[in-house]
């Protein structure tokens, strides 16, 4: 199908959606005891509509029954595949501060409703509309730095752009948080903010340059008892992944995203990066397992952990074994491409010098762990196998 034809077709789809959801015309069997207004809408309101609303990166709104019904089959697949909500950590969610998980019952309600005929229920039972999320969830930043305007041409579906932004600081500053505000929320799919090279080299034990990993719907987590260092006169690199949804496939879209800096008033411990990656290239074959690690040469507190952006369908387990033989799993997760975020530990984990950090990474049998109909978001095992721990020294 040609692009103009697809556009016409897509327009037709929108019209068809409006028709298809007329009351009384649904031909699917109603087997769900749960209705949208009574049971489903409150869950969507709590967990989903911050992103799944008009004018967001998600190409569908899930605010009302009419809007949600056409996406029920898609919801079913995405939920069973574990793609949504985009929280990759397995196990105890309370270990982390920026949690996005559904309760077991809530998940079952959504799936049962989506598979069971998508009944509407009494409109009087519908919860009030969710408030519009603020542009800056942490409040107005201390400094807002705008990137240059970028135009995504009509014939380009996705692109990655890097913008260098001068901070103009005359002395070293300490940041408790860095956030990104998309100029056009419908095309900014993910973004990172880093201190440009030349100010501090990042390496084992080096100062962390990656200040933010931004994904839609994520609320930045302010560092506690530690901060990112912003060297005097530093430049920031804002790297943005743009991707159009089918709704804007043929549009010319302009974006002018901004970076928000939140300073911490007092000088504090600088967050450092401990990177773990295998010596050899990833074998790539599904099911293959890679083990690698390193030993800490100083006492550290682990504050946060993040995967290499782009890593996909690879299950990673980071285990720490202290010199006294005690150990704990710091994180077990299965990152998804485009959903790389920094996982902040609720309680820092103290690891003495001599602690062995071991990473076990295995590429999944992705097809088996997703239901029929699920599309891979990226090639299985795509991306570099790399895990970074954000640490501060133990004083």
């Amino acid at each position: 199908m040609t692009r103009p034809a697809r556009l016409v077709f897509a327009t037709g789809i929108l019209a068809a959606m409006a028709i298809a959801v007329q009351p009384g015309l649904a031909h699917k069997a109603i087997t769900s005891p749960y209705t949208f207004n009574e049971d489903v809408a409150p869950i969507l309101r709590e967990h989903c509509v911050a992103c799944h609303a008009d004018g967001t990166a998600a190409p569908m709104s899930l605010r009302t029954h009419t809007e949600t019904v056409p996406w029920a089959a898609s919801m079913l697949v995405e939920l069973v595949a574990g793609h949504m909500p985009p929280w990759s950590v397995e196990g105890d969610a309370s270990r982390f501060r920026n949690v996005k998980v559904l309760a077991a019952r809530d998940l079952d309600v959504l799936l049962t409703w989506a598979a069971g005929g998508t009944p509407a229920g009494p409109s009087a039972a519908a919860p009030p509309p969710a408030p519009v999320p603020p542009a800056w969830p942490l409040g107005e930043p201390d400094v807002t730095l705008s990137a240059p305007e970028f135009t995504l041409r009509a014939d380009v579906g996705q692109d990655v752009q890097e913008f260098r932004i001068a901070t103009g600081t005359r002395e070293d500053r300490w940041l408790r948080a860095v956030d990104v505000r998309p100029g056009d929320t419908t095309i900014v799919r993910s973004a990172t903010v880093a201190v440009a090279q030349g100010h501090d080299a990042t390496g084992p034990g080096g100062v962390e340059r990656l200040l933010a990993l931004w994904v839609p719907g994520d609320r930045p987590v302010p560092a506690e008892g530690a901060a990112f260092r912003l060297p005097a006169g530093a430049e920031l690199v804002l790297r943005v992944h743009y991707r159009k949804t089918w709704l804007r496939e043929r549009d010319v879209v302009r974006d002018r995203s901004a970076v928000g800096l939140y300073f911490t008033p007092a000088r504090t411990e600088v967050i450092r990066a401990v990177t773990l990656e295998p010596a050899a290239a990833h074998p790539g074959s599904p099911g293959a397992e890679v083990r690698f690690g390193r030993t800490l040469d100083a006492d550290m507190q682990v504050l946060a952990i993040y995967p290499a952006p782009g890593l996909h369908d690879t299950t990673l387990t980071v285990h720490a074994t202290r010199p006294d033989g005690t150990g704990e799993t710091l994180i077990a997760f299965r990152p998804q491409a485009d959903w790389a975020r920094r996982y902040w530990l609720s309680e820092p984990v103290v690891l003495p010098a001599g602690t062995r950090l071991d990473v076990r990474a295995s590429t999944d049998a992705a097809a088996a762990l997703a239901p029929p109909g699920a599309l891979p978001r990226a090639p299985s095992g795509a991306g570099d196998i790399r895990v970074t721990l954000n640490v501060i020294p133990v004083r």
Binding site: H27, R95, A104, G287, L369
Partner: protein, 493 residues
């Protein structure tokens, strides 16, 4: 428009199986065992409600053929997979049949609002569109009244055509075999091992109507008796395979096997049309397939009235039978299977399938005295959720074992039942989390959520008959059950 959606001959029953007495044959449960209490009644009731609502809106002005449109069929408001060519009553509920104009369209598996006349890709996600059965109605702006033929509205404008996806048909075997659904949810297959050492594959559409011959001839596949799987590379090599070819009467694919020794595990690897991915369907046969279709039933009845010497089927390899001392072997077929000589390629492999505890396949004995009713399989019985937490954990443990047993038996279409029972226990357990020691509460909560997701995943994979996918989902499920039980150690007794 696809003429194959219409009945092949006027008055021919496409779906319901009707006994010679004219009474409807009770429909087997969608799920095996016949004891599953789950979806059947609820689905039927709900389906009836929605279908009635829809039918009430349809105005029939003329059921005569409309140029360029598929003909009118008659369907049951309660049982939409009953499709007839002439008015009558539903063989299941005796309701009067109502008219519907059926067509084939193309839709997206996950974006069903996409309905196209031709194959193509989804404008939303670029998936390949898959075929689906739709009903055609025409409407006027602002009206919910549906018409079965095009026409003009009161304001003189032409009515708008609407294609509405019909409910999916059931998954009941028609020929006593095992029934699976392809990934496109349009193709359905039934594998059967009748008595003459053949594997038959019936290929249906989404209403279990046999594919027309021209489409069946495009299906390529083989049945694999032995294969080697390399977990390192995750590649599979066929060791013993038999090609499938169109059977003599053009309604199924068939592979001739030299010997079928039960229980047998056979994998059909099928490409439904050129350009589509090959799909695998894992069958396990513990007994010969008793074809309950009206044609087979009539053929058996006719055969039983004719005293004709019946040549025995080729003997199974002696070594196989002799290798299992103490195992009862059946007599040679007492009833000739009505299949005429088949043009299929004969593959001489001489391979006995699964020699463990073999029973040589023979014709079933449909006329034999009724066997005692077997004990219901506890895996397929619902039970109330335990009131105590240890009781719930015991139930999780038991359901987990039952899924493993069903998987071991190759009963892939039944694994959903204990999985969903376990899922309900997990949700009940979640509501008791506050009783757990706080240190283990969150870990248990995460595991319970994962358990629910994996139960749904087991259900999804079970329908499509891929044992490896079900096994992978089950392994994750089983590990999670162990986590829940371990984490729940903090629950008070």
């Amino acid at each position: 428009m696809q003429p194959d959606l219409q009945p092949a001959g006027r008055g021919r029953r496409l779906r319901p199986r009707v006994a010679t007495s004219g009474r409807a044959v009770p429909r087997p449960s969608r799920r095996p065992g016949g004891t599953l209490p789950a979806r059947g009644p609820l689905v039927a009731f709900a389906l009836a409600a929605t279908a009635l609502a829809v039918v009430a809106l349809v105005t029939v002005r003329d059921t005569a053929p409309v140029a360029g449109q598929p003909p009118i069929s008659m369907t049951c408001p309660h049982h939409p997979d009953v499709i007839e060519t002439s008015p009558g009553t539903c063989p299941f509920c005796q309701m009067a049949l109502v008219p519907v104009r059926l067509d084939r369209a193309w839709t997206c598996l996950v974006h069903p609002a996409t309905i196209a006349e031709e194959r193509g890709t989804c404008p939303i996600c670029s998936r390949q569109l898959v075929p689906v059965t739709v009903s055609l109605t025409w409407r006027c702006p602002g009206s919910i009244e549906e018409h079965l033929e095009p026409g003009r509205c009161a304001d003189g404008t032409a009515m708008t055509l609407a294609r509405t996806v019909r409910p999916h048909g059931d998954h009941n075997p028609r020929h006593g075999g095992q029934f699976f659904m392809a990934a496109d949810k349009w193709h359905h297959i039934e594998g059967a091992v009748p008595a003459e050492q053949a594997f038959r594959l019936y290929v249906y559409d989404d209403y279990s109507r046999p594919l027309p011959l021209e489409e069946l001839e495009r299906v390529r596949g083989r049945v694999v008796a032995e294969e080697d799987f390399d977990p390192e590379t995750r590649t599979t090599t066929d060791l013993v395979a038999f090609p499938l070819a169109v059977g003599a009467d053009g309604t199924y694919l068939e592979a001739r096997l030299d010997a079928v020794v039960l229980p047998a595990e056979l994998t059909a690897k099928i490409r439904f049309a050129p350009g589509l991915d090959e799909e695998r369907f894992d069958f396990t046969f513990t007994k010969p397939s008793l074809d309950t279709s009206p044609e087979a039933t009539a053929a058996r009845a006719a055969a039983s009235e004719t005293v004709t010497p019946v040549p025995p089927a080729p003997a199974a390899p002696e070594a196989v039978v002799a290798s299992a001392p103490g195992v009862e072997t059946a007599e040679p077929p007492a009833v000739e299977v009505s299949a005429p000589p088949s043009p299929i390629a004969r593959v001489s492999a001489g391979t006995a399938l699964r020699p463990a505890t073999p029973t040589v396949l023979t014709a079933p004995e449909p006329e034999a005295a009724p066997a005692p009713v077997p004990e219901p399989d506890p895996a397929l019985l619902a039970e109330p959720i335990a009131e105590t937490i240890p009781g719930m954990l015991d139930q999780l443990r038991a359901r987990n074992a039952q899924i493993g047993d069903l998987l071991e038996r190759g009963d892939l279409t039944a694994v959903w039942f204990p999985a969903f029972q376990a899922k309900d226990v997990a949700i009940a357990l979640e509501s008791r989390l506050e009783e757990l020691d706080p240190s283990g509460r969150e870990a248990t909560s995460a595991a319970l959520q994962r358990l629910v997701r994996l139960a749904w995943l087991i259900d999804a994979h079970g329908d499509t008959g891929n044992r490896r996918n079900v096994t992978a989902a089950y392994e994750a499920f089983s590990t999670t059950v162990d986590e829940v039980i371990a984490d729940a150690g903090g629950f008070p007794p």
